[in-house]
Symmetry: C2
Subunit: 317 residues, 2 copies
């Protein structure tokens, strides 16, 4: 039995399962990251012990840069700064009596999707696959011929930090005009709020009963399908930016498959169709029709299932 | 002995050499591509036979998409349409009595640079390297952990067809705002012509004696160093766009090395310095200082030397 952990700024998700991805228990608890690393790690250890008497190994995703060899968190942009240089693996190993393997959360979700996403065997073993997590941030991972590309610091795969608008908005990473600035859930929802307040989104207004805080990409997709043309236009604009980012990667690597995961991917075909059109339009050097662009099969579970895969593989990716 | 051929729209370059990249003879003749494939291939066969009594194999770069397995040219955008589906390897094999291996020209130059560019052994075997050919077009190649990434059709590695300006100029590939539209030799030289005609480039005017047709990126770099501030600004603008494209790839793949080749790379540090600054500024998710950005060691010879490498490896890349 293994434990898969997905540590986020808001919640800690945990799954207990085997090397084939069969989950026997699953839970999510609030992170309360302001309490600091030791309180949060203590919470994770208790959570795992409550769910399984013992586990053979733990695979854990952290929202940022980690030193995989040493099992240390390095730079988690959306967490308190005390997380810098915390020996996470060592701290958790004592109470759990099991090795703890770390990976960036988006790369972990990529591993989960590749291992347990119901893909064909050849794709898993030899395929070139690009994974996007579309949520508050835009992260991802790149698999080249069956191997997750991590680079010297496990930092490769940052598909959300391509520059899309050279003089665009300031991004959390310090750059301007990254994909994340124009195609994240907050960017899209923010535009939904504006359209609703401008009276251009009557269906959205009805769906969320006028409450801006209830607007999500999925509510916007429902409103667009119900007839809000302005909301549809906002979605298509985001899809066009996302399509540029995907087309850039297709021109560079010609992957067999692009998988869209994270909360925003649950918009489904309303988002996927204009993305596919944009990719075919933008890739001029070869016909890109053959590149599959699909929604994640695992949804929210990609991270914890990646954790199971990482644990079962003793940290080897 | 092997022959390396680099077939371009203007010239055919040929080198005769061994598997270690020692060149014993080298020549370049005009392509005269309007004469059609059989005349051009006949010229290539004669050129090789004049230079070497016999060769064991030929490695040849074509400016576009080829079917490597079948040895057929598929789509050469800057050559006459008769080049579609020409069995190049078969046609050349008879007069040369040697196998002929094909590859896209920019990928062939990447192979040449990687094999004979004087790089460290580990980099050649395990390194992740990105190569740009900066010329009339912008091509390239990507090596992931020592292996040239070709993709299903040998079409991966099109670093010049990333969208840099979403609603930018029409590119030869059909897309808008590709790197090639803003950072190719004609784009930069065209701006040099404009600046000279506007009276903003007195040094450039003197260097080329007022003749627009003599303006090249290298002349512009000389004019910028001699004091033409407007020319320096034009170069820095191109460097910024190139820096965006490189930064995007660094965020995606975190390569150890980026090599700039092709005629425009001969501008040297005037181009390289602002490129390096832009890359460090644009890559926000991890420090990118460690990624080396260097000028090609082989210059114009990268293609033919890649041909020698391809021939010596019996077409395996």
């Amino acid at each position: 039995m293994y434990a898969g952990i997905d540590l986020g700024g808001t919640n800690i998700a945990c799954a207990i399962g085997d090397a084939e991805g069969h989950i026997v228990a699953e839970r999510s608890v609030p992170t309360h990251s302001h309490e600091g690393p030791s309180a949060v790690l203590d919470r994770i250890a208790r959570l795992i012990r409550e769910m399984a008497p013992r586990v053979d190994a733990v695979g854990m995703g952290l929202p940022g840069r980690v030193d995989r060899e040493a099992g240390i968190s390095q730079f988690l942009p959306n967490m308190p700064t005390q997380w810098r240089d915390v020996p996470v693996s060592q701290i958790l190993r004592a109470p759990l009596q099991a090795p703890v393997y770390l990976l960036n959360d988006a790369r972990l979700a990529t591993l989960g999707e590749l291992t347990f996403g119901g893909r064909e065997d050849w794709l898993r073993k030899f395929g070139t696959v690009v994974f996007f997590t579309l949520g508050t941030g835009v992260g991802g991972g790149i698999v080249v011929e069956g191997k997750l590309r991590l680079g010297p610091w496990g930092a490769a795969g940052e598909v959300g930090h391509q520059t899309i608008i050279p003089d665009g908005l300031l991004c959390g990473c310090g750059n301007r005009g990254c994909l994340e600035t124009v195609a994240s859930a907050p960017a899209l929802s923010g535009e939904g709020v504006r359209l609703m307040r401008s009276g251009l989104a009557p269906q959205l207004h009805q769906l969320v009963e006028g409450e801006a805080s209830r607007i999500t990409p999925q509510q916007m997709s429902a409103a667009a399908l119900a007839g809000d043309a302005a909301v549809m236009e906002a979605i298509e604009r985001v899809a066009a930016y996302l399509g540029i980012a995907i087309a850039n990667i297709v021109s560079l690597l010609h992957p067999e498959l692009v998988v869209l995961g994270g909360g925003m991917a649950q918009m489904g075909e309303v988002l996927l169709q204009p993305v596919r059109q944009q990719v075919v339009r933008r890739v001029g050097m070869f016909p890109a029709h053959g590149v599959r662009i699909e929604q994640s099969a695992l949804g929210d579970r990609a991270g914890v299932m990646g954790g199971l895969a990482l644990a079962a593989r003793s940290g080897q990716v």
